[in-house]
């Protein structure tokens, strides 16, 4: 009993000392430091472009923030469901800031209650106080209220919508003109031109072709572009009766790759040559995948290695091993950080958009070439905006910047 009393006493002493720690720290003369003035003109507005679960609290700085007593350190924002209800602290912001965004979209349920959640069309009341660097709190500001409103359209994303519509219009125009028989010039790409030569080399040497789709999923655009080139390569290997090995690291990619190769063999008129075991799953882990593929390179000595898709740190390990194995190597990725490695270690590299454009280059279909033209024209517009933007910002005209700014 005595021990419990002593412990209780200790707890009381510790907690009271902690509570004292929160109080104002007296100055050297023993006088309590002055409290700052509270912020003024508090107002609450709906948070724009959301589903109706956020509010923005705004205020004018306390007269003692960077002026007057110059002792404001932070502002603390409080919220309540009614003007007379219990105000709960929602957060703090440093001095000089005049805005606090109160936003929590996580809808509560019976298992996970969320008191911070604000339903659509609910009204909330806010007040703010300033706290000095000596922990002295000001009086509360006046109470302001705001109602959450559901925004139907995200106005900050309108430039994206306009750009996408413009691009689609270009696509439709060029596709229809291509269908009418208009010839379209596309500059030659060394990497694409080398595809057929590389397949021919493998045939002459009697060695297989290794096709690596990278570590992306079937939803990655680069992997989809990789399937397109795989289709072409598999069709040629079927014609030349050359083996193509496709080790993959994702089961969905495996299914698509198997179907792509099978169809290519079917279209080449050699369905009997298709061996599903040449397109196989290795592992989903990055470096075990690299170890397996490197092993294949050093055992099989493929004549040609294709790297088409999403690559990360394994890009250089694969490409250098392929180089040691003496293979011709063609790479393509949209991972900017891996491009220098591929450029240094492989014979041909498709840089970013060239990989996406491969589909049009390889098929030479007018419709596909039309999409390349649409891309070029959109790029010209983007370039024009960059030049105009640079001029406008230099001249101090923010109109153009505001027009194209995306507020996510």
């Amino acid at each position: 009993m005595t021990k419990k009393l002593i412990m209780l006493l200790c707890l009381v002493i510790i907690s009271s000392s902690l509570a004292i720690g929160q109080e104002a720290i007296p100055d050297s003369a023993g006088l309590a430091p002055p409290a700052p003035a509270p912020p003024t003109n508090v107002r609450v507005v709906d948070r724009p472009n959301d589903a109706g679960h956020g509010l923005i609290v705004k205020w004018d700085l306390s007269p003692d923030d960077s002026a007057g007593l110059n002792n404001v350190a932070i502002y603390e924002v409080f919220r309540a469901g009614s003007p007379d209800g219990e105000f709960i602290s929602r957060g703090v912001v440093p001095r000089g800031i005049t805005e606090y965004v109160d936003f929590d979209e996580t809808e509560p349920n019976s298992e996970h209650p969320n008191p911070n959640f604000m339903p659509v069309n609910s009204t909330w009341f806010y007040k703010i106080l300033a706290i000095s660097d000596n922990q002295v709190r000001s009086e509360f500001s006046s109470v302001a209220s705001g109602t959450t409103i559901e925004n139907w359209i995200h106005t900050g994303k309108i430039p994206i919508g306009v750009a996408a519509i413009t691009f689609t219009v270009f696509l439709i125009i060029f596709i229809s003109s291509a269908r009418k028989g208009k010839k379209m010039y596309v500059r030659p790409l060394a990497g694409i031109n080398a595809v057929d030569d590389a397949i021919g080399r493998a045939t002459e040497m009697g060695k297989p072709i290794l096709y690596i789709l990278g570590l992306g999923t079937a939803g990655d655009i680069a992997t989809i572009a990789g399937f397109t080139i795989l289709s072409r390569v598999a069709k040629r290997t079927a014609e030349y009766q050359t083996k193509v090995i496709v080790p993959v690291q994702d089961p969905v990619v495996l299914a698509v790759a198997q179907e792509t190769v099978r169809t290519a063999y079917l279209e080449a008129g050699r369905p009997d040559q298709y061996n599903p075991e040449n397109v196989f799953f290795v592992t989903s882990m990055q470096f075990p995948y690299v170890a397996a593929v490197n092993g294949i390179m050093l055992r099989e000595h493929p004549a040609t290695n294709f790297y088409m898709g999403v690559f990360y740190a394994e890009s250089l390990i694969l490409a250098e091993t392929g180089n040691i194995a003496g293979s011709i190597q063609i790479s393509g990725t949209d991972q900017v950080a891996q491009l220098p490695f591929f450029v240094a270690a492989t014979d041909y590299t498709l840089i970013g958009e060239e990989l996406y454009a491969a589909s049009a280059y390889l098929s030479q279909e007018p419709v596909q070439l039309g999409t390349l033209k649409a891309q070029d024209y959109t790029k010209a517009i983007v370039m024009a905006f960059i030049i105009l933007g640079a001029i406008a910002i230099t001249a101090g005209w923010p109109f153009l910047r505001n027009l194209v700014t995306i507020n996510l």
Partner: protein, 211 residues
């Protein structure tokens, strides 16, 4: 119909995913359809498909390696793989082994060190690739070599060797290097958008197994 139905699913899903991006609240102003919930619902399907396809991957792996047991030159690797697979699956089923037993021991003492070893090869391959890339065989290669030398001097442990070196490296990285990176990024963004639109409109359909 075998091709039309998947194409229709792709088109409808693609258009829904594009439009929901612009509607923070109700999708297309339709009551009771939350844009966010719709997005989560469709993304959940991606996960469901991924999980359902996992047995396909495991089947492919086992089939390929069981067949390789017949080939004398690859028998050894396949046997090790199949043995490792069985040990990890069986030990993973035992709750007490999962946290403090064979399963964890193999993971921590075999798999992680092997992965680190493969990753560490990168250091050597960077050196060999750099040696080939930086040989001064042409004017452009010489410029590349000089630029690399200036930048290396900034980042080696004893660098930067002077204030001029520091200033020059900052300029190289922030002006020509950044400009090239942004140009590539812009091309990638437009190319990805074009490919996405082609897929939604059904122009690009090689991912379905044919041109």
């Amino acid at each position: 119909m075998k091709r039309e139905i998947p194409l229709m699913i792709v088109m409808v899903t693609g258009i829904i995913m594009f439009l929901q991006y612009f509607f923070p609240g109700r999708f297309l102003f339709i009551p009771f359809i939350s844009s966010e919930k719709l997005f989560e619902f469709l993304n959940d399907w991606v996960m469901v498909i991924g999980i359902l396809s996992l047995p396909l991957g495991i089947w492919s792996l086992l089939k390929a390696n069981v067949n390789k047991l017949k080939a004398a030159d690859e028998r050894f690797y396949s046997a090790i793989l199949l043995m490792g697979f069985l040990v990890m699956v069986i030990s993973g089923w035992m709750p007490e082994w999962r946290t403090k037993g064979v399963h964890l021991a193999i993971f921590q003492s075999v798999l992680i060190p092997i992965q680190s070893t493969i990753f560490s090869l990168l250091a050597f391959f960077v050196a060999s690739a750099a040696y080939r890339a930086f040989r001064a065989r042409s004017v452009l290669a010489t410029i590349l070599l000089l630029t690399a030398f200036i930048i290396m001097m900034r980042f080696i442990p004893m660098g930067p060797i002077s204030d001029i070196n520091n200033w020059l490296v900052e300029k190289i990285l922030m002006v020509p290097n950044m400009a090239a990176k942004r140009a590539i990024a812009m091309g990638i963004a437009l190319g990805a958008t074009a490919t996405a639109i082609k897929i939604i409109l059904g122009i690009e359909r090689t991912y379905m197994g044919r041109d």
